[in-house]
């Protein structure tokens, strides 16, 4: 024991030396920008060096909380988060279970399911803009087969715009599927065999063994999908632009608008709110899914 700790002490400098490049990288590209964002969120800042920032206290946050577009954004993010958990993650989990069962052609289906991931979100938003176009969009043309008089500008009408934005992501749960599928494939076969010997039905094995054992990956999926909703930008900016009015506003759009207005303090206050929302999501999901407890 004494020899081990001596060895550990002797190696300690090497540990730091090996960690140094990573620590420097982290400090330069993550830690310092985050500190800068937090600091400047309390200032009037035009982006020309921290020495030019003028301390304002909580004024940016007060202003933000009094903005109608901020309140609408928070409501939208809350609704999208609920939909992400209820529809997006659930759909991803169901698809993972279908792939896990190994239905004929599942490898092809998995590859096809992956396609949206390799298309940039900006291109994907543009595709949806065409799909939902009133005049020549695929969706309205299908609807007009049954209702020739149908007219709806999905991205520019209330409340259709909210749902049109939602449709750009809600059924593309590839990441969730892949993470859950990885967990499913890692379940020891003897565990499932033992359950079969004990007389467990396929449904009981799914509900009482597989799903609980996928707790971590499902929790991870929830964190990823909810935080993606908080930071969602391209799908809105390239389609409805937050409209009509402020109906599909999001914090990321407020942030970009503040940058366009050279109001970096307000933009960074928005970023701080987004950061806090992301951390809160992680803490809550960690607690709810008991991410720190072992599943086995």
């Amino acid at each position: 024991m004494d020899t081990k700790s001596k060895l550990g002490r002797r190696n300690l400098p090497w540990v730091f030396i090996f960690l140094l490049p990573t620590l420097v990288m982290f400090a330069m590209f993550y830690l310092w920008p985050i500190i800068e964002v937090f600091y400047t969120s309390f200032t009037r800042y035009r982006g020309f060096g921290l020495h030019t920032a003028e301390w304002l206290g909580f004024a940016n946050f007060t202003r933000l909380f009094n903005m109608q577009s901020f309140l609408i954004s928070i409501t939208n993010i809350a609704l999208w988060s609920v939909l992400a958990i209820v529809l997006h993650v659930s759909f991803g989990v169901v698809v993972a279970f279908i792939f896990y069962r190994g239905i004929p052609g599942w490898k092809f289906a998995r590859a096809a399911f992956m396609v949206p991931v390799v298309i940039s979100s900006a291109a994907w938003a543009m595709i949806y803009r065409f799909i939902f176009n009133n005049d020549f969009g695929l969706l309205n043309n299908i609807i007009r087969i049954f209702n020739p008089d149908f007219q709806l500008n999905w991205f520019f009408s209330s409340p259709a715009a909210f749902w049109a934005i939602t449709f750009t992501w809600v059924f593309y749960a590839v990441i969730v599927t892949m993470v859950v599928l990885g967990d499913l494939m890692a379940i020891p076969s003897d565990l499932l065999e033992a359950a079969s010997i004990d007389g467990a039905s396929s449904w009981q094995k799914t509900w009482f063994i597989k799903l609980p054992l996928c707790r971590f990956s499902i929790g991870t999926g929830v964190i990823m999908s909810v935080t993606s909703r908080i930071s969602m930008y391209e799908a809105i900016a390239l389609t409805s632009r937050g409209g009509p009015g402020d109906d599909t506003m999001s914090l990321s759009l407020i942030l970009v608008r503040a940058i366009s207005d050279n109001n970096f303090g307000l933009a960074n206050a928005t970023a701080v709110i987004m950061f806090i929302m992301g951390i809160l999501t992680m803490v809550i999901v960690n607690k709810l899914f008991r991410m720190n407890d072992s599943v086995y």
Binding site: W14, I17, F18, L20, P21, V24, M25, M28, R46, G47, F48, G49, M67, Q68, S69, N133, N134, D135, N153, F155, F156, S157, S158, S240, R241, G242, G243, P244, G245, D246, R257, A258, S260, D261, N262, N263
Partner: protein, 462 residues
């Protein structure tokens, strides 16, 4: 030995990291008149986020500037050949490369490049609020007056009020084309025949004469054609023209002025009853396409659109449309929208001297009498202080639509800047366009729409 190797590897990693983070370029001379703390663009090629694939020839100063007058943009018809003419004239000395940027993204791109210390050598305009609150007060520009002093052949061309507007503490920020190009209205003479000239008709008269004809409106991008229509309605209201004119310097943030509310009411009527079918969500290309495919009979736009009605733009026409059908006139109420207090071409102070000289050479080239004549022939307008020759006048008279536009303006024409020039940048784009669908579907009345604009202006104020 092993330990020494490990230390060396770690040190190399750190050095490479430090090297990657550094953007000093020993080959770049320091800026003249700029802020020493600002990052320089490197080498002989200032790539505004872009660059060239091939190294420049020895001695040639090559600059790359992002611009939106490219591709299908209507301004590309004149601008790109002009760049070619410049490159041909200064072959072996200067070379301009154009990096293509969508018009809608140009302002954001420029703002980001300048913010990152990667400003291109030459910029045309930018968001007015940003220019007035950041670029000009921070002195982030070359003083063009020193360049202009060395160019007596063009020095007298510029409008004094524009020079005054662009001057700060004796320094000249930017130069705009010394050409006044009032925004006008184009209509399809085969589809719509007004009882009188538009100078003698009010918008109410036009609305009553429209019948089933549609106007090419848009709500996407900066809602350009819709905004111009609204601008002309405001300018025709009592006190409206003054309101817009004053707004160029002192932005309108309270939209409850009767001129705006009344104009918005008329606009709502038009949008609800006479808007082209693709108005909601339409970008400029959609609005132009609506007009050039006979789906709408009128469109408000600048004289540069005339190029789209010439036979060499035939590929843009469809559904039986022909450029010969188009007539040009002032906007109803005898309104011509023009803003002489705008900002034009400027050179960021972070640009090295030799690139600034190349940028200036291009500005001087664009503002030369020959080029301005070609510019006016292609995109319309008049240059009050530029001497023109008879050949130019004859050529302009040959262009029927340009001739109509010039003759439509009379002594009683009301000149005012466009609504977008008189309101905060972020309200003009994208908030105005974002809100328009609610005016169209009636979920907001004109007064409520104006209240919303007032609220947004307060939210986005600095």
């Amino acid at each position: 030995m092993k330990k020494i190797s490990i230390i060396l590897v770690c040190a190399m990693l750190l050095f490479s990291l430090a090297a990657c983070a550094s953007n000093d370029n020993p080959g770049t001379p320091p800026p003249a008149g700029g802020d020493d703390n600002q990052t320089q663009t490197g080498g002989n090629d200032t790539s505004g986020g872009g660059g060239t694939d091939t190294p420049p020839a020895a001695g040639v100063i090559e600059i790359t500037i992002p611009h939106y007058k490219v591709g299908a943009n209507v301004g590309a018809l004149f601008f790109l050949p002009q760049v070619d003419r410049f490159n041909a004239k200064y072959e072996g000395v200067y070379k301009i490369n154009i990096e293509e940027v969508p018009q809608d993204d140009y302002a954001d791109k420029i703002q980001q490049l300048v913010q990152q210390g990667m400003a291109p050598a030459l910029i045309e305009g930018g968001p007015q609020t940003w220019l007035e609150e950041v670029v000009i007060p921070e002195g982030m520009f070359y003083d063009l007056s020193t360049f202009l002093a060395g160019a007596p052949d063009i020095a007298d061309f510029f409008l004094p009020e524009n020079i005054a507007h662009n001057s700060r503490s004796g320094k000249l920020f930017s130069l705009t084309y010394p050409v006044v190009r009032p925004m006008t209205i184009f209509y399809n003479g085969d589809m719509f025949s007004p009882s009188k000239s538009f100078a003698e008709l009010s918008w109410d008269d036009v609305i009553s004469e429209l019948g089933d004809n549609k106007i090419a409106f848009m709500t996407s991008e900066n809602a350009w054609t819709t905004m111009l229509t609204l601008s002309s309605m405001i300018a025709a209201e009592p006190g409206g023209a003054e309101l817009l004119t004053n707004g160029v310097v002192d932005k309108i943030t309270d939209f409850s002025h009767p001129a705006i509310v009344n104009a918005m009411t008329k606009l709502q009527t038009l949008l609800q009853n006479h808007a082209s079918s693709n108005t909601i969500g339409a970008a400029y290309a959609d609005a132009a396409n609506s007009f050039m495919s006979m789906n709408s009979a009128l469109i408000a736009n600048g004289p540069w659109m005339v190029g789209d009605f010439m036979p060499d733009s035939e590929d843009k026409w469809s559904n039986g449309f022909n450029g010969d059908m188009v007539r040009g006139d002032v906007l109803p109420g005898n309104v011509g929208l023009a803003n002489v207090l705008g900002y034009g071409w400027w050179i960021p102070s972070s640009v090295p001297q030799e690139q600034a000289e190349a940028a200036w050479a291009f500005i001087a080239f664009m503002m030369s009498a020959d080029e301005l004549e070609q510019y006016m022939l292609a995109e319309g307008g008049t240059a009050p202080r530029v001497p023109v020759n008879d050949a130019f006048l004859a050529a302009r008279a040959d262009n029927r639509i340009l001739d109509e536009l010039i003759n439509a303006v009379n002594a009683n024409t009301i000149f005012a800047p466009a609504f977008a020039d008189a309101i905060p940048s972020s309200v003009a784009d994208p908030e105005f366009g974002k809100l328009l669908p609610k005016l169209i579907d009636g979920s907001l009345t004109a007064a409520e729409f104006c209240d919303e604009l007032t609220r947004i202006a307060a939210e986005t104020a600095n």
